[in-house]
Symmetry: C3
Subunit: 462 residues, 3 copies
Amino acid sequence: MTALNSKQETVCIFGTGDFGRSLGLRLLQAGYEVVYGSRNPNNSALLPKGAKVMSYEEAPQRANVIFVAVHRKNYDFLPSLRPVLEGKVLVDVSNNLKRHEYTESNAEYLSMLVPVAHVVKAFNTISAWSLQSGGLDANRQVLICGNNVDAKQAVVDITHSLGLTAVDRGSLRVASELEDLPLQLFPLWRLPLRISAGLLGAVFLYVLIRDVGYAGAVEKKDKSFRIMISLANKVFPTVALVMLALCYLPGIIAAFVQLYNGTKYRRFPDWLDRWMLCRKQLGLLALAFALLHVLYTLVIPIRYFVFHKRANIYISLIKENKTYEFNDMWAWRSDSYLSMGILGFALFVLLGITSLPSVSNALNWREFRFIQSKLGYLTLLLCTAHAFLYGWDSFLNASAYKWWMPSSYMLALVVPCVVLVLKTILILPCLDRTLTRIRQGWEKPGKAGMHKNAKSSQPLIL
Amino acid sequence: MTALNSKQETVCIFGTGDFGRSLGLRLLQAGYEVVYGSRNPNNSALLPKGAKVMSYEEAPQRANVIFVAVHRKNYDFLPSLRPVLEGKVLVDVSNNLKRHEYTESNAEYLSMLVPVAHVVKAFNTISAWSLQSGGLDANRQVLICGNNVDAKQAVVDITHSLGLTAVDRGSLRVASELEDLPLQLFPLWRLPLRISAGLLGAVFLYVLIRDVGYAGAVEKKDKSFRIMISLANKVFPTVALVMLALCYLPGIIAAFVQLYNGTKYRRFPDWLDRWMLCRKQLGLLALAFALLHVLYTLVIPIRYFVFHKRANIYISLIKENKTYEFNDMWAWRSDSYLSMGILGFALFVLLGITSLPSVSNALNWREFRFIQSKLGYLTLLLCTAHAFLYGWDSFLNASAYKWWMPSSYMLALVVPCVVLVLKTILILPCLDRTLTRIRQGWEKPGKAGMHKNAKSSQPLIL
Amino acid sequence: MTALNSKQETVCIFGTGDFGRSLGLRLLQAGYEVVYGSRNPNNSALLPKGAKVMSYEEAPQRANVIFVAVHRKNYDFLPSLRPVLEGKVLVDVSNNLKRHEYTESNAEYLSMLVPVAHVVKAFNTISAWSLQSGGLDANRQVLICGNNVDAKQAVVDITHSLGLTAVDRGSLRVASELEDLPLQLFPLWRLPLRISAGLLGAVFLYVLIRDVGYAGAVEKKDKSFRIMISLANKVFPTVALVMLALCYLPGIIAAFVQLYNGTKYRRFPDWLDRWMLCRKQLGLLALAFALLHVLYTLVIPIRYFVFHKRANIYISLIKENKTYEFNDMWAWRSDSYLSMGILGFALFVLLGITSLPSVSNALNWREFRFIQSKLGYLTLLLCTAHAFLYGWDSFLNASAYKWWMPSSYMLALVVPCVVLVLKTILILPCLDRTLTRIRQGWEKPGKAGMHKNAKSSQPLIL
């Protein structure tokens, strides 16, 4: 049995905070020797067992890689260490508390303070907590940037030893981008959340005026208690259906733009690009509203209001000594719209599940497109049919329009119908064939000239 | 601060399509120099900033690795480049539009065209889109094959620099397999989908004849409106329960086969192997049908038909001046079957969640088996009890048989009962002990001889 | 086209069981030459094509790395191979059937048997099955430990070639820890499962006595049928709400401890640490009970008992010739508590989804904290409001207390209210400011002295 190998590498960590301690522990577990640099080398409480603590001057001497786990505002002791740090790899792991706090990135600032060292930005996207939890769970990527290839390689090696994946993101100029990452708060969700907030507000106001306002002003009845469930159950399905349609609209617009341009080698307008990029988020929000609609619908028979209304129907039926005739058409209609809704919702849940990262990663491109496109349009079709059958012929009835305002379900149908009609046009054989060729790289002869050369002569890989 | 290191490697990309552009961008971000080879080197519209474009002859000169991001049918310019490509690494990233389009794989064809280069197949399972999205999300594996170890290593190094994982799949003969992967459409789901389609069709036909057909022919009533919900809510639970049982049946058959063979070192028949491999998919489809059953059940009180039926019951109760006596047994029965169903469904959802890749990857083998086997049988038991309690004693009643056809829930119980009985036999101590020993490598003395040597003398690791 | 490169490495595997065969197949696919060592080298049935089988003496000769895929109790042939194994890397992949079966780990035992070889523990956390399934799914980590750095590196290289991630966990002393991992059965779930079992039992007993016992003893009515749904639907929501509150209580206690200590650099008591570590599991169990509560609530209108009760209400209303007056306040109350419940449950589902490994890995620290903390407290607030509105003013009513026992929903409100009140205190500006400073590394002057030096002069990175 051999003793611990003599080649063991030493890594130095400046700073004994949470991140420094967690990193040191993982490095020790991975077989590195760890030396902490500290202003007070005698204070080693809470540091992992097996690590040494030295002064800032001594600690880096035997190490090639030094992690600077200190807040940027405490970098001022570093310039005095220049002789010791010359030619060594300084890893900046720091993050700021807000974005744009400083003009240059922490790593570039560090590089100006200690120009004799090779500064690498890394590990700032990894939290102390995920370093500690380690084990089978922490399969996160370490994003790395820096100007010196060998210095980056040294950090990549350490990253791999810790069982993490390293992604080289380029030169130190990228550092400010990496430092922004941990401060982001759902950047891709902003636009979809704003759209859904706007739609929720607008539809709520509409049904509030139409249902509660009209009843108060014209019928002199206080129906404000309907806000909690009846109105909510008009707002959520309307917004869900519109947002589901909004997922598929940009793809259709893009197809028409490509058909008009006669090529796929022209950039889409910015607003279309941004819209295309947040389709997944739009769809997931629509799913959330659809779930709320399902729950609000299923509690209907438990509501006091419904219990009361039904009791009165039964009582009046008996008092008037009527028999309640069975209406076959109504049975068909009621069962059909419920059935369409259930099938549409179940497919929608399936779409949601396949957009989970671990599921979509296990699909190949063809499978992913099949689900998100074919099954997606089927979902939209079922949900639109659900709304149509729910309304049935009530749009013919004058009583459906209060103050000339149509019922909310009619508004909900506008965008989905536009999307479905446009999609039907796009899958006409003549258009579909042209579009497929364009997407394989073909260009309309007249248009190709715009790129100076007839690139269309050589279709390229998708 | 050091300038960009001089050792920076150059990578060449033939082809400026979507994939070529996305790959170039990632390579530039990772610090490589990128040179595009193009028929029209002046046309660099849309190419990532920082990349150079040259002619096919010039571009590969300074690079060791050349990515061929061009459709196979445009490979014809490559043979003329032989002198420039000699000894270099050619990475074939191409995919075809359908399977079996050509007799040999694209990579082998490329290798025949340019025999002086080392051809490596790689990156064809990665889409341009997932290269672009990059960042924290794209943790997909790059499958690699090729005949030259050094050439493969060069591609592995590039893969790692891009933050991706490389999997060496062997020699270039495997290329056709890798080229098939992106063209697959749910290969493991085919059999389960066919089974469920067959079951759905058969059960639907059965209940259609029994419920709608019988009512039309014998009772002269049109009950066709029942198709939308009442029949659907018989078809889905029946298929769900049968398919859940079909998940566990192959494991039981395999156990009996092993007991009969007296060894685990004999291959199962092919049909059993195929069946075992799609158990997860069978179970997930069963879960989908169970979810539909739950939704169809919960909308019952909202249906017009139910509202009408209940109104008539209330009216007739009052007209006949009866008091509605409370039947304690009926209350027990109704509540018990609902309760069993709810618990069974909740456990079923738990099984579904643990089969998500990211969840099952976080479990060790023992935990996975505990959930999928122990909790799985508990789910089957609860769901079978749910169906039994639903039927109660109605199977004794002649009116449950129309045209001698039993109710669909009775059919649903056949397979689950067989599975549960066989499982009960298997956990009898005497059989269980033998089976455990067989699975640890023990072989029945008489049977072991079939492998020439008494391997049973040395049990091997599971 | 070049032939297979001559540098191809040879790997030896002792043992031809399931694991040995699966590993050999993967190694062959990755381009290694594989030689099996076997007591009976003529018996090569079931071994992967392309592998050789030799005697234990011959097999290791050309290989540097030898996998020992044999049960520990069969290690006794290894000491006789010492001359052949000298200086080679022996990889111990073995697992035991139960924990603490032997005093020292299998790998350390192997190292004592063959001291001339470098023993590395690895691959024991990977199952034969996940090696076989391979492809896009098996992104599991290989945990490695050993005393020799070069030996470990050789195993790391093989791991990478197989497309797996290697995590170096340190010296061979860690081996017993790695050998325990595959034998664990949900270690983090034990405490939460015990807490929930205790709560379920206690609340069930409470409502059993209060509802069924009281009715039997005082009202002389047999209400035991209520156990299946009515009681279950009191037990599950109570336990769900209490456990949701228990998720947030330890964080609040920790904040008060830090405020009292005036520093974050002091360890929490052990029970608090354990509690903090299982918050996720507590929350997921609470979500499971909340789902059961939702399902039990939604089946209410299908129950025979409810149908009977409603029929009697309608009949008595008609017999007494009453009109059923609409009570606006009751409508508000009924709709509000349902609405709060639905919104709370939907948010709870969102929390559950973000705790899936693949989703939480895609979030940065700030996003994760936003969801789990801000949205978590909002969920608790909504669910508590749901319970309050459900009860309304019934706590004022003497009939709500049977045998002086309050209704179960009142018990359910105790812990959530405590948590919400304490949290409100903590977000008071004065306390919040101090707490934020403490969490950024600041220490109360009087307390800092406890660590000998004024470390507070240098706030450290989080």
